[in-house]
């Protein structure tokens, strides 16, 4: 399988690289990996990382070591919507454990797993900087805050409808 950026993605790639001085293009690696993850289905297959290495003119290992270090890069396939639920201190004392248990029950998956229909992945994460609006989770770019069981139900229904509308 070969993965390459299309024209539109290449335009964005060039915009990202242009932020750094000549010869310092490796600095764009983190933003470019975000672009690659968004472009290739929400995760980073080895082929995608190799493509990034070629574009930035660096060794593939320089990409792998970065992709494995940062928690936002997914190294295996994920569902269409990834529920990243915060479990750190401030969220925990505000009731995140109940929310995590409820999501597991509603989606019938454990943390790290994806639903059989490929729609949802549950991931437990550390502090996302929303402690005053706890309990919370991130879904894509969006923060879902002040979570309750009712809100979780509504969010799941909302995404299911989005998927249904696309089919």
């Amino acid at each position: 399988m070969s993965l390459e950026f299309n024209n539109e993605q290449m335009t964005e790639f060039k915009r990202l690289v242009a932020r750094y001085p000549e010869g310092k293009q490796k600095s764009a690696l983190l933003p470019v990996l975000h672009l690659a993850q968004d472009s290739f289905g929400g995760w980073l297959p080895t082929e995608a990382m190799d493509h990034v290495a070629v574009l930035l003119n660096i060794e593939p290992i320089e990409v792998y070591e970065v992709a494995t270090f940062y928690s936002m890069y997914n190294l295996k396939p994920v569902g269409k919507f990834v529920f990243e639920v915060c479990q750190t201190g401030p969220c925990m004392i505000s009731g995140s454990e109940n929310i995590i248990a409820y999501i597991q029950q509603q989606l019938a998956i454990k943390p790290g797993e994806t639903t059989k229909d490929g729609i949802f992945t549950l991931k437990l994460v550390e502090c996302l900087g929303a402690c005053g609006y706890a309990p919370m989770m991130q879904v894509g770019k969006i923060y879902r805050e002040h979570l309750t069981k009712e809100k979780v139900d509504a969010i799941i229904a909302e995404y299911r409808m989005q998927v249904a509308a696309q089919n």
């Binding site: 975000h34 070591e65 970065v66 936002m72 900087g129």
Partner: protein, 450 residues
């Protein structure tokens, strides 16, 4: 109402946009600095203001600026640290989300003072939507002549670039942040050389927190001396506090550092008291890394004096009976909270975030989490408490960067102040799985429990 210097205009409708920000007097400090002041004069005002780094360490900002090397022909850089990741802290997010132009104005003045033509905002990857807000604000500022070439006809060129991180608490440490900005793993560098001599791409670099750089705007507007009159002692100006946990009104508050901890927690203007009619048990006043204090040491110092929300008062008594201002992440725990469990979630956080470079931190954080898990799940032994103490002591001070200390301190403070709660957990294995130790003698001495 206390003095507001940063959030004064936060509620003005549309303040996020350039037009409204400008109409409300925005960019007048930048105009003053670039047109009427010399670089030396700007640095002098920041020094006189007594402004201390708002990220957590509290190092004087003006002094940090004065360290920057100026070798001939080598570009210098200002980097804004927006990698806000300290549990309990969400103030920079608020500032950037609602007042992006205030940060940009502070960045422009600071870039001018430091001679940075390319300035970077390193923002944590999870704040991607905030990064979009900043990008939009940068475009607006550039369109109106505040960024780009020859700004205000001064001959000064400056561009601000947003750089998205990807999920790593360690990148809030300035040398790890620089590594990350160079496209590498966030492994902190050994200092010296300090970033002011060899930082980003080995060029002289200053890394400052979001709130620190935003505070440069009121400092230039009012002058360093006037700014220094606000607050008390070496805690000058205002500080953003992000309050969370079991309180009625979580949120971001600007305080002038003369308010008492008691007023901050119980007054309606700020936290509005403990939620659900519960009683206060403990507080982590400056982000998860700083020592937790039981209620009886929080409102009054060990000497029985009122404790205030400022750098000196919060650290009164040292680590034995005090804590730290830190990042301003103010976490309140009520009577139902379990100290062992809270400490466990923090230990797990630091284990997850250790970069793995130094053995004491890499191995020690894992051990602390495992032992705390053992105690929490009702399988602990009394000797485990001493083992925990021993491990944290061997991490502190033995690592390249302060993450080791940050991981050790919460465990040390929890044992120091709540040792009997740990012992209760161990001696009541079954009971501890279904009930809590409660308040006991940690009760708030002012708001006496019924």
């Amino acid at each position: 109402m206390g003095v507001k210097l940063l959030l004064e205009k936060a509620n003005v409708p549309g303040i996020r946009t350039y037009d409204v920000y400008r109409r409300e007097g925005g960019y007048s400090a930048a105009e003053k600095a670039l047109k009427e002041m010399s670089i030396e004069a700007i640095v002098e005002e920041v020094k006189k203001s007594g402004l201390r780094g708002r990220g957590g360490a509290g190092f004087p900002a003006g002094m940090k600026w004065s360290f920057i090397a100026k070798p001939e022909g080598v570009p210098r850089h200002l980097v804004c640290n927006a990698d806000e990741s300290e549990p309990g802290t969400f103030k920079d997010r608020y500032l950037m989300e609602f007042l992006p132009h205030l940060l940009l104005e502070g960045l422009l003045i600071s870039s001018f003072a430091l001679g940075s033509n390319d300035t970077y905002i390193y923002i944590r990857g999870e704040y991607a939507w905030v990064a979009d807000i900043l990008e939009e604000a940068i475009q607006e500022a550039a369109k109106n002549g505040w960024l780009g070439k020859n700004i205000l006809g001064t001959g000064f060129d400056c561009m601000i670039h947003v750089h998205l991180g990807a999920g790593a608490y360690i990148c809030g440490e300035e040398t790890a942040l620089i590594e990350s900005l160079e496209g590498k793993r966030g492994n902190p560098r050994i200092k010296p050389p300090f970033p002011a001599i060899q930082g980003l791409w080995l060029r002289p670099t200053v890394v400052n927190n979001v709130e620190t750089l935003a505070a440069v705007v009121p400092i230039i507007k009012m002058g360093g001396d006037e700014y220094a009159k606000i607050g008390v002692g070496r805690s000058t100006g205002t500080k953003l506090i992000s309050a969370c946990g079991n309180i009625n009104k979580p949120g971001v508050y600007e305080i002038d550092m003369t308010i008492s901890v008691e007023d901050f927690i119980y007054s309606d203007e700020y936290c509005g008291g403990i939620a659900n009619g519960k009683k206060l048990k403990a507080c982590i006043p400056g982000g998860s890394s700083v020592p937790i204090l039981p209620a009886n040491l929080l409102l009054k110092t060990a000497k029985g004096e009122t404790r205030y929300m400022n750098y000196e008062s919060l650290s009164d008594g040292g680590f034995a009976t005090g804590s730290m201002m830190g990042s301003g992440g103010f976490i309140i725990l009520d009577e139902d909270q379990c100290i062992v469990k809270n400490t466990l979630t923090l230990a797990r956080f630091y284990r997850h975030e250790s970069c793995g470079q130094c053995s004491p931190c890499r191995e020690g954080t894992g051990w602390m989490e495992k032992i705390l898990q053992k105690i929490e799940s009702g399988k602990g032994e009394v000797s485990d408490i001493d083992l925990l103490w021993d491990i944290q002591r061997k991490i502190e001070g033995n690592t390249i960067c302060p993450l080791g200390d940050a991981a050790a301190w919460p465990v040390a403070a929890a044992i120091r102040h709540f040792r009997d709660e740990f012992e209760w957990h161990i001696n009541n294995r079954e009971l501890s799985q279904t009930s809590n130790f409660g308040l006991q003698h940690y009760a708030d001495p002012i708001h006496v429990p019924a």
